[in-house]
């Protein structure tokens, strides 16, 4: 599964730590998701999408 979290983060100019704090996870969790090492739960995917003002489908897509 691919995602555009890194791109969205770059647009808003926020760090992994800031995003992690906003959605209530650790920085290494955001790092793992961005690098396709970990697929987040539906709950976390919804939180991240809501933070960027996007839908889950816009942020996450199948390979």
């Amino acid at each position: 599964m691919k995602n555009s979290i890194r791109v969205e983060r770059a647009i808003l100019r926020i760090s992994q730590q800031e995003l992690a704090d906003a959605v209530g996870v650790s920085r290494q969790t955001i790092y793992a998701i961005e690098n396709d090492k970990f697929i987040p739960s539906t709950e976390l995917a919804l939180k991240i999408s809501a933070y960027f003002g996007k839908t889950v489908n816009e942020l996450f897509s199948l390979d």
Binding site: S26, Q28, T29, Y31, A32, N35, L44
Partner: protein, 160 residues
Amino acid sequence: MDTRKKLLLLPYGFQVAGWIIAGFSAILFLYGILFIDKPYIQNDPAVFGIALFFIGLFIIGLSRERQEDEFTLYLRTRSALTAIVVMFGLSIFMLLVLGTLAGFANGNDIVTEKVFNNQSFADFYKGFQRHTGYGDAFILYLILYKIRLAIYKRGARDEE
């Protein structure tokens, strides 16, 4: 649903205490080995050090991280599964491969001496079983989990 509530773990402070206990027990063990001239089993500081070390590791393995989330739960699960599979694999290897070797080598002094340390296979396997139990699986789980977590922490730090 809060997935963090599914895993019962001790608070993060216990992990710090666990590391302190493990560190202290390592010093105690070294003191016993280096400065007390007694056989290992009668060497109280060394034996007590090892026992305390395992207690420390047990506390570390069952304590929360500073920020416990679904990714740490994923790493814990993966590491525990790997540890169980490795230990089970070692057990199977011992039974099938070395058991077969013991059968073929029955009466061969060189194999009996070099591979099985002059023991029967049954005794050799009993000795090995002591090292593939839950305790060793737990230590392997802890090592794998901490290494994986450290890799991701380092990766996140490098990218920052």
